[in-house]
Amino acid sequence: RPPPSSPPLSTMQSPADSMRHELAFYSDLFGKMTNQCFKKCVSRYHEGDLNTGETVCVDRCVSKYLDATNKIGEIIQKSAEPPQ
């Protein structure tokens, strides 16, 4: 199956450019994901270590966040395709 014909981010970039974009994208993703999951999983500062509930929460939160990222990426990709 050929790739979509007009993606929002043109693949006509130099490898260096697309690498730069990718690095920036993942750096931003990491920061936002960390902040969001911390907000949702940690409410008190009783101790410096993560307790069991928090470790379970963070693992699930990361998984869900990345799922959401993929899902939204698909939707964006689809909406950028020309109508069939």
Partner: protein
């Protein structure tokens, strides 16, 4: 009643007067929680030597930026959560304790996020290679318009 003082010092603060930041900059980048994320990104095949070097330099630059940014972000977060009153000029014991735990917890948290993220990326790469090997369509990457 003390006289009004400008909150901004008249002299320019020299960069060297920020010992913690300079210590962070001098450290090797591999301690940063974000490093586990960068480490998982893996090499890109088919790039020239010059491009790879440029990539390495860029990644190092991003690590430095990320380290400094997360330092300030952490201070902001722990200050917001731990400091409420301004009865005294110095942090109270309770506030110091809260801040220590906050910073400790967040650092460990971010490291764990990085680990899980790296594992996820690796799994996706493996799936992509498997799909490519069997002749099927490669799964869409996370970035729209940039298939892996």
């Amino acid at each position: 009643r003390h006289s009004a003082r400008s909150p901004v010092p008249n002299c320019v603060v020299q960069p060297a007067l920020h010992p913690t930041r300079d210590r962070l900059l001098a450290k090797k980048p591999d301690f940063s929680p974000a490093m586990s994320m960068f480490g998982a990104m893996g090499g890109a095949g088919g790039m020239s030597q010059a491009d790879q070097q440029q990539m390495m330099a860029l990644m190092q630059e991003m690590q430095v930026q990320e380290t400094l940014r997360s330092y300030n972000g952490l201070v902001e977060r722990c200050f917001a959560d731990c400091v409420e009153s301004f009865v005294t000029k110095k942090l109270t014991n309770k506030e110091t304790d809260c801040i220590s735990k906050c910073a400790d917890k967040f650092s460990k948290f971010a490291m764990r996020v990085g680990q899980r993220f790296g594992e996820h990326q690796q799994k996706m790469q493996e799936e992509a290679m498997r799909a490519a090997g069997s002749g099927g369509a490669p799964p869409a990457g996370m970035m729209p318009g940039m298939p892996r």
